[in-house]
């Protein structure tokens, strides 16, 4: 506590830096003054570090794969999101210094999907673009790459985003078949070609399908989620309840027009799409009827309590605060500290949020109580419940994270209150931008100051970011 004769200016500065509801005792000339510092939290601005802001964010409607987007290509969806961002912000195209875009399952023809999408979206062909990939946190990686470019003083305005298109995925010939076909190109004589063709066996014709499985362990993510839920003793009932909550909240948010990041998209040859189509609040009874999808017959993860395969794209405009203000924008939020974490891809595949949350809070000098808005990626209801239990456990924190105490679980009333990946859908590389934009919107709507985004990703990786509301 402070016991000096400080000037009132110093005192003012000091009060600003205290967090809310904290009792501060000051001694002025032998007089004790107790001040309850109210809602004015400190800002997370750091000296010598540029303030970086989220100007705005949009996304295409997230649709179940195989539905209305089925005939598109990934860059078509990405283009829609980029154009939507331009429309929403009225941004002059040549004002963008750089574009970073995420994607997970790559369309091989458009391996740098960022560039292909940007060209068609009407950005200047002088704006470079690159694609990043980090499983379900690919667009988080796109955004933090943008933050890095701005923080390093190399760019002032960067567009980041991500796209996932599960209606069409690359299905390959078998390795043996590919080898034969490649050799065929090099074969010079007819005889050589015929003998190569003759070497083809029926088994070589079996295609290779991409799987949502870890390459290192060959375990599908749903299987791992089921084991994780079992490890933390998460029941089927808890999972179904959480999934139902997600759908119910998403429906409510959709109906009350809260999902303002969704843009309308005229799909070529089809109608205008302007709503997510995977939100389907069901009943506990109906959900209980489903059989487990991965661990049979005794598993707990079902189609109803998992996120579904989704097509969708998202985009955000990130700028230095100076530039945004100079261009006349009213930013939505500050993007503050962020972390990436990684753990054992077998048994802790989906525990990213548990590891990332305490780390990023520590970095920002905040506690869980300081956070007003939580947006966690919901890969599986069981995964969310497991993370919440892990975050509530001192034993887990001490045994596996090398921490003295647990970080604590977020209060549910602040948690994913406009739905989540389970209900809105989860186009892998587009989800990160949705989480960040939703935090910004919820902070504005609910009047909070800090938001926290956290997500798990294949490979046993994870991410968290602290977002601060832009003063209204």
């Amino acid at each position: 506590m402070l016991t000096t004769n400080q000037s009132s200016y110093d005192l003012f500065c000091f009060i600003l830096q205290r967090s809310k509801k904290e009792k501060c005792t000051f001694h002025f000339h032998n007089t004790t003054v107790n001040i309850f510092v109210a809602k004015s939290k400190k800002t997370l601005a750091k000296p010598g570090v540029k303030n970086i802001v989220l100007v705005d964010g949009v996304r295409t409607p997230f649709l179940q794969s195989g539905t209305i987007y089925a005939d598109l290509m990934p860059h078509d969806l990405a283009r829609a999101a980029l154009q939507g961002l331009l429309n929403r912000t009225g941004l002059p195209k040549d004002a963008v210094d750089y574009i970073v875009y995420g994607t997970v399952i790559q369309e091989v023809k458009t391996s740098n999907v960022a560039r292909e999408a940007a060209l068609g979206a009407g950005f200047s062909d002088k704006t470079p673009a690159h694609t990043v990939t980090m499983a379900c946190i690919s667009s988080n990686q796109a955004m933090t790459t943008a933050v890095g470019l701005i923080a390093a003083g190399q760019c002032d305005a960067v567009v980041a985003g991500g796209v996932e298109f599960m209606s069409d995925v690359p299905i390959r010939h078998s390795r043996r078949m590919r080898k034969t076909m490649l050799s065929l190109n090099k074969a010079k004589t007819l005889g050589a070609r015929l003998s190569l063709l003759g070497s083809i066996r029926l088994a070589h014709l079996a295609p290779e399908l991409p799987a949502v499985a870890e390459f290192s362990t060959a375990e599908t993510m749903g299987h791992s989620a089921d084991r994780l839920a079992a490890a933390f003793g998460v029941s089927r009932l808890e999972q179904d309840e959480f999934a139902l909550r997600s759908h119910t909240l998403a429906k409510k948010a959709q109906d009350s027009g809260l999902l303002s990041d969704v843009i309308s998209f005229k799909v070529p040859g089809k109608d205008i799409v302007s709503k997510d189509n995977g939100i389907r609040p069901s009943t506990m009874e109906q959900m209980a009827k489903l059989k487990p999808a991965f661990i049979k017959p005794h598993g707990t993860v079902t189609a109803a309590n998992s996120s579904f395969l989704t097509d969708g794209a998202s985009a955000v405009l990130i700028m230095s605060e100076e530039k945004a203000l100079a261009m006349g924008y009213k930013p939505k939020a500050y993007l503050r500290d962020f972390v990436y974490v990684s753990q054992d891809p077998k048994d802790q595949l989906l525990l990213g949020p548990t590891y990332a949350t305490p780390k990023v809070l520590e970095k920002s000098g905040l506690t869980l109580n300081d956070i007003d808005v939580f947006e966690f990626h919901e890969a599986f209801a069981g995964q969310i419940m497991a993370n919440l239990k892990a975050m509530e456990s001192d034993w887990f924190a001490q045994t596996y994270m090398g921490r003295k105490t647990k970080v604590g679980a977020p209060p549910m009333e602040k948690f994913n209150s406009w739905g989540g990946s389970l209900s809105l859908g989860h186009p892998f590389a587009a989800t990160g931008c949705r989480l960040v934009t939703t935090v910004a919107h919820r902070l504005q709507k609910e009047g909070g100051q800090y938001g926290l985004v956290a997500a798990c990703a294949a490979g046993g990786q994870g991410h968290a970011m602290v977002i601060e509301a832009y003063p209204q």
Partner: protein
């Protein structure tokens, strides 16, 4: 002892006196008591049987209980008691679910298959099997009767005759278990603890399902299964199977092992003559087998192996965290493989890039073969390989805790290496030498710190051969020994620790036998005949083939060195035969020619005519009095055994147990005889001495029995094993 959860009685097996659960008399009695109580409890509708021990369901019957029996009848009645209990379990009015995590072997498996339903975890520690045959016994609590019905005749034969461990995935496919449960990772409890809990939860659910008829025990049979069942239903087909299996067993065991034949008899009786006859045959055969010398020998080896898997020299002052291996040859690379395999960083140093590349490839292949068998994932393989640093220089040797040299067997080269290495390693670093014959003290003569020098004699191929012979000199410190043993145990080895001297223990026993083999060859016994005589005695590899495997050059080298050290006792065959073969390039398998020709892929081994020519030029006449087949066998074996006993007499060998283990695991001494010392006990020292005297008359002092053997011959109460 049991808890009722939702009308399901959960019985948690836990033997507080041991690390594993075994079916002892005590446990059986307790089990009967608990089951009777459960059957009497009307509130209980089903039962879950689970172990509280991580990594062990029930490891088998208590061997000591069987060994304590004096007569076959006693053992038979033990078997019948077991049969009775499991019969009650099988006929239980309420379903019993066996929830299996960890080893479920022998009597444990017989218990499990008597239950109505089986659930196993997919843990790496979960293995199912009937290893009784490896102890010269048979599954004596209904196993020979229930298994064929459960998994079919061919699979049942395979399991019981080989005793092999079955992994959970395979067990499910075979129909040995009904459901599998994944092992869990970290949660709110340790993975091991939570996995057992989870297994119990799942098992309780299934038990409820079984009680409520929501789960059925019978699984739908596929077409293949139906066809197989149909075919097996035909008596002539079954007869043919019995015949084939019988002749296969005879071919492999040479009729030296009674257990496999008795197993076939039990299965056949059960299927052809019905349950009552089958169970009776099983219990009677079990009793008979328990009284055989073969079973005693195999059980002795089992106990010996357990003893030799412990460190009797205490905990070393520091753990070996970085090991360096010199020489990337067959041995060096093999040592590196079994070290990185266990997570210890290893430097593999060679002098040439070709040598290094070859060694590196050997390690990679060894691990990659495991990925093909699915015992490793490719990522685990890559992670293990990342611990290996192949190099040509002494970089990073300053961080090595132990150096094992496996360079060429030449004293001056070894001295050079000692000096080079000691210039770069830290003071605490141990220098181990992998030599098969050079005395360690001679190698240590070049060392500035002989207390840190020790011999570690590995056997080729290192990743397959279980034995490690550790040799201490009178200067080797106890901590150095403790550390070498610790490293060997980590590498998964069975370890004997012996004194220093030319050929130590193992090579010294093998050399006279090989000298006698050369003698026999010179006398006109062909390599094939020699091989069949030795395998007929129970050696897994024939003497001529063994010489090719070891390397004729190595054999020549050792024969000459040990011949110099021990004189005429190591005579018999002419070393020049071996030297001439080496000169002609017949170095054994590695050079493509030795006693045999090793052609590409041809199954039938051809005798090397070049070697035959050499043998002809060294031809000796066989003394007819000692050249019958059996005589040749005993000439070979008696020289081996006499040398082993002499090693004990001279104190090279600390005890007969290690002598038996070393001979069986390192040299392939017939396991059914239990090792040279148990062989003397069971054969009778006097009879052996008589034979040797006869040979001595014909050949000379290489057959002179040593004093200790004579002592045993004189006094039949003297035995190496109590």
């Amino acid at each position: 002892i049991y808890e009722v959860k939702d009308n399901v009685a959960v019985v948690r097996i836990n033997d507080p006196t041991s690390k594993v659960n075994t079916l002892s008399r005590h446990m059986q009695a307790e089990m009967v008591e608990v089951m009777n109580e459960i059957w009497g409890n009307a509130a209980v509708k089903s039962v879950v049987l689970i172990s509280r021990k991580p990594g062990c369901f029930i490891a088998g019957a208590d061997i000591n209980m069987i060994q304590a029996c004096k007569t076959a009848e006693e053992v038979t009645s033990l078997s019948q008691e077991g049969q009775k209990i499991f019969d009650q379990v099988e006929k239980s009015p309420i379903p019993i679910v066996a929830a299996i995590n960890g080893s479920c072997l022998g009597g444990g498996l017989e218990f499990a298959i008597a239950c109505q339903y089986r659930i196993a975890t997919k843990s790496k520690k979960t293995i199912l099997g009937t290893p009784e045959v490896m102890l010269g016994l048979l599954p004596g609590a209904g196993g020979t009767q229930r298994l064929p019905k459960m998994v079919g005749l061919p699979a049942a034969f395979d399991m019981m005759l080989t005793g092999k461990n079955i992994r959970p995935d395979k067990a499910k496919k075979m129909g040995l278990v009904h459901q599998l449960v994944d092992p869990l990772g970290p949660g709110l409890k340790s993975p091991e603890e939570r996995t057992i809990e989870y297994l119990e939860e799942v098992a309780v659910d299934f038990a409820k399902g079984l009680a409520g008829k929501k789960v059925t025990v019978e699984k739908k049979k596929g077409l293949v299964q139906k066809i197989q069942d149909f075919v097996m239903g035909l008596p002539p087909v079954r007869k043919q199977i019995y015949k084939t299996v019988h002749s296969k067993v005879m071919k492999q065991s040479k009729g030296l092992y009674p257990a496999p034949l008795k197993i076939i008899e039990c299965i056949q009786t059960g299927i052809e003559k019905g349950n009552a006859a089958g169970y009776l045959t099983e219990s009677q055969n079990f009793g008979k087998l328990a009284m055989t010398s073969e079973s005693r020998a195999l059980i002795g080896l089992y106990h010996g192996q357990v003893t030799c898997k412990k460190n009797h020299f205490g905990k070393p002052e520091r753990d070996v965290k970085k090991l360096a291996v010199l020489g990337a040859g067959l041995m060096g690379a093999g040592i590196a493989q079994v070290t990185i395999d266990k997570g210890v960083a290893t430097i593999l140093k060679d002098t040439t890039e070709e040598g290094l590349a070859r060694g590196h490839q050997q390690v990679y292949k060894g691990l990659n073969d495991k990925t093909k068998k699915k015992s490793l994932t490719t990522f685990e393989r890559d992670g293990i390989m990342s611990l290996l640093s192949g190099q040509l220089d002494y970089r990073d040797f300053e961080n090595a805790d132990m150096v094992i040299e496996a360079v060429f067997e030449d004293l001056s080269i070894k001295h050079k290496v000692v000096k080079e290495v000691e210039a770069v390693i830290p003071p605490h670093c141990i220098f181990a030498t992998n030599t098969s014959a050079l005395p360690i003290k001679d190698i240590a003569a070049a060392s500035k710190r002989p207390e840190k020098v020790i011999g570690m004699h590995y056997f080729s191929p290192v990743d397959k051969m279980q034995l490690l012979e550790i040799i201490t000199t009178n200067k080797t410190s106890k901590d150095t020994t403790a550390s070498a043993v610790a490293v060997g145990l980590k590498q998964g080895k069975v370890i004997i620790v012996v004194g220093d001297g030319p050929g130590f223990y193992t090579t010294r026993c093998l050399a006279p036998m090989l000298a006698e083999a050369v003698r026999a060859l010179q006398e006109g016994v062909g390599p094939k005949k020699l091989d069949s005589l030795t395998t007929g005695f129970g050696f897994p590899v024939g003497a001529a083939t063994l010489a090719d495997e070891v390397g004729i050059d190595v054999a020549a080298h050792v024969a000459e060195d040990l011949g110099k050290a021990f004189g005429t006792r190591f005579g018999g065959g002419n070393v020049e035969v071996l030297k001439m073969m080496v000169q002609k390039g017949f170095k054994g398998r590695k050079s493509g020619k030795g006693c045999y020709v090793y052609g590409a892929k041809s199954k039938e081994k051809k005798v090397n005519s070049g070697a035959e020519d050499i043998l002809k030029s060294f031809k000796l006449t066989a003394p007819p009095a000692v050249s019958a087949d059996e005589d040749i066998q005993y000439r070979l074996v008696s020289r081996f055994v006499n040398e082993a006993v002499l090693c004990l007499q001279e104190g090279i060998l600390p005890d007969p147990v290690q002598g038996d283990i070393g001979a069986v695991f390192g040299l392939g001494f017939p396991p059914c005889l239990g090792g040279p010392f148990r062989f003397v006990d069971s054969h009778g020292a006097d009879k052996l001495v008589q034979k040797m005297k006869r040979f001595e008359e014909a050949y000379g002092n290489q057959f002179t029995p040593c004093q200790l053997l004579l002592d045993h011959a004189k006094d039949s109460s003297k035995r190496f094993h109590k």
